[in-house]
């Protein structure tokens, strides 16, 4: 069996599983946030039971409309605060956490070898730590609150073997964009995507999270990476109990195996308005921008901010461009302050905002007007995603977005760096 099959077998008390089997799995952790939690709480109350199945296995995080941008949002936050208190559920309020997919691993809520579900499509991020993690909706989260179980169809698995070394200023974001470009927006629908190979073994946890985060953009049920020494080091001080590290058997079965070498990979960009419309930055011509956004559950981690700061250090954001930098969590925020990264951003004329989802989903700050273009490190460029349905969103790496903020058009970061030297 492969790692996904092994985790699902354990969670459903089965010795062996095959793709297509339907299991009733025990859930080890469920997460909801401020845009999916309220419907989940309402649905839970309709079930007609008073207590959740296990209050230690539920986490609620405010991150989307944070801090509350309207009275409606404030009411939803209040409702979730009340539910968390009533049920004694771990709750990350404004200023106590950040973007859910950063907070969950950072605060030790993601355990390798377990089944995790989140009422957010990017819950697949947690596969970076060797957990089975997938996105669900609010009603299903309510059912898990009540029963601790979920039905799952064992997915077929795509394996992606990655070899080679990244060139400077080419990142895991460029890799996952190029994979999505090849496989397509529905190329992994219902499937597990397992990343392996020497490049993965040498990749930081931040990079692994970026890869797993975006597997849902090709329809995947989950993205997953076998846990190793890098996983163990990341978890040091975050979780205090032993975990089961599953590995895929040598003879594990895969629907398809893709072999990718990153040595020649260039900075990539997903053009409007689908995530699989991917091209090298060098091939898109002159694309002027009005906004540059560095942040989100895809690329708002310390490593991403360091890279953006390296590109922006001592430079000024081009007139006519609004550059927004949003650290993915309070922890990332304070580390970035300690390292002097915030000074680099603010000196460059970028606006640093509090840890939250920001403009990514077009619900709160940093929206776009008709005819405007944003280059963003986030994960979706759908029509209307970041505000006006007449606006355009391009997705790229933190290095590319930082370089673009300086030049005012979508720019290969190596172009800016060459000029520096």
């Amino acid at each position: 069996m492969n790692i996904t099959e092994k985790i699902l077998a354990k969670a459903s008390n089965k010795k062996a599983l095959r793709p297509g089997d339907i299991v009733d799995a025990n859930v080890d952790m469920v997460m909801v946030h401020d845009l999916t939690g309220p419907l989940a709480v309402e649905a839970f109350k309709r079930i007609g039971i008073s207590r959740v199945w296990d209050n230690k296995k539920i986490v609620i995080i405010l991150d989307h409309q944070v801090p509350a941008e309207s009275v409606k949002a404030a009411e939803l936050h209040k409702m979730l605060r009340g539910f968390a208190k009533e049920q004694n559920i771990r709750f990350y309020d404004v200023g106590r956490g950040g973007v859910c997919h950063q907070v969950m691993p950072e605060k030790g809520h993601v355990i390798p070898g377990t089944v995790m579900v989140g009422a957010d499509s990017h819950s697949c991020t947690y596969g970076a730590l060797g957990a089975f993690a997938t996105g669900i909706g609010s009603t299903e989260a309510a059912a898990v609150f009540a029963t601790g179980k979920i039905w799952l169809k064992v997915p077929k698995t795509l394996k992606v073997n990655i070899e080679g070394e990244f060139k400077p200023y080419v990142t895991p974001k460029d890799l996952i964009l190029s994979i999505i470009g090849k496989i397509g927006a529905d190329g992994a629908t219902y499937k597990a995507t397992e990343f392996a190979g020497s490049t993965i073994r040498g990749m930081s946890m931040a990079g692994r999270m970026t890869l797993c985060n975006m597997t849902v953009e090709m329809g995947a049920k989950n993205g997953i990476i076998e846990p190793d020494e890098i996983t163990r080091k990341f978890l040091e001080g975050r979780i205090n109990k032993p975990y089961e590290a599953f590995n895929s058997d040598i003879n594990a079965e895969y629907e398809k195996v893709h072999e990718i070498n990153v040595s020649d990979l260039q900075p990539m960009v997903a053009c409007p308005s689908s995530v699989d419309n991917v091209k090298p930055v060098s091939e898109i011509g002159n694309v002027p921008i009005e906004q540059a956004f560095i942040g989100s559950c895809t690329n708002g981690r310390l490593e991403d901010l360091r890279l953006a700061a390296k590109v922006m250090k001592g430079k000024i954001v081009r007139d006519g461009v609004r550059a927004l930098v949003i650290p993915a969590s309070q922890e990332v925020y304070s580390q970035a302050v300690d390292e002097g990264l915030m000074e680099i951003f603010t000196d460059a004329g970028a606006l640093v905002c509090g840890s939250a989802c920001g403009p990514c989903l077009g619900g709160h700050i940093g929206l776009l007007a008709a005819g405007e273009t944003c280059v963003s490190t986030s994960n979706r460029n759908f029509i209307g995603r970041m505000g006006s349905t007449q606006a355009n969103v391009y997705l790229a790496s933190p290095a590319t977005v930082a370089a673009s903020a300086l030049t005012g058009r979508i720019t290969d970061p190596r172009e800016v760096e060459t000029k520096k030297a």
Partner: protein, 165 residues
Amino acid sequence: MKVSGTVVKFGNNVDTDVILPGKYLVLISPMDLAKHALEGLDHTFAENAKKGVIVVGGKNFGCGSSREQAPLALKYSGVKCVVAESFARIFFRNAINIGLPVVECPGISTTVENGDKLTVDFDMGEVQNTSKNRMLEVTKLPAFILEILSDGGLIENLQKKMKKE
């Protein structure tokens, strides 16, 4: 279980941001959500859907965010069923969980036109296009999913099971 309605057709990769834009996610009432159904692609959709329509989609219908507000908006705008070449998995589960019938039907997007009358028979696993006198097979849903749909959604199904216990 059978549902009938007039076709409103869309293309491939209809995502949840166009079905229900992010700025409306603070709305809680299904009827408020319904007013903005598919607003990202067609401002007149919510008004037209009131008569009872069947949405036909291409590949990967409902891709993107896990927002359940997307199928809720469709259901309460008057959509009786979504028939598509294929669905994104979270949307598919969400629709069933809130009691909006959804079914995969390979070939549907090339054989129906806006305004055709369709009847979807979930037990027989077929779609009748009465305007074109044509029948297509659908991917049959397992019995436990049909039971959730006929109960009206996952919560209703769970209530029923808990009463039995």
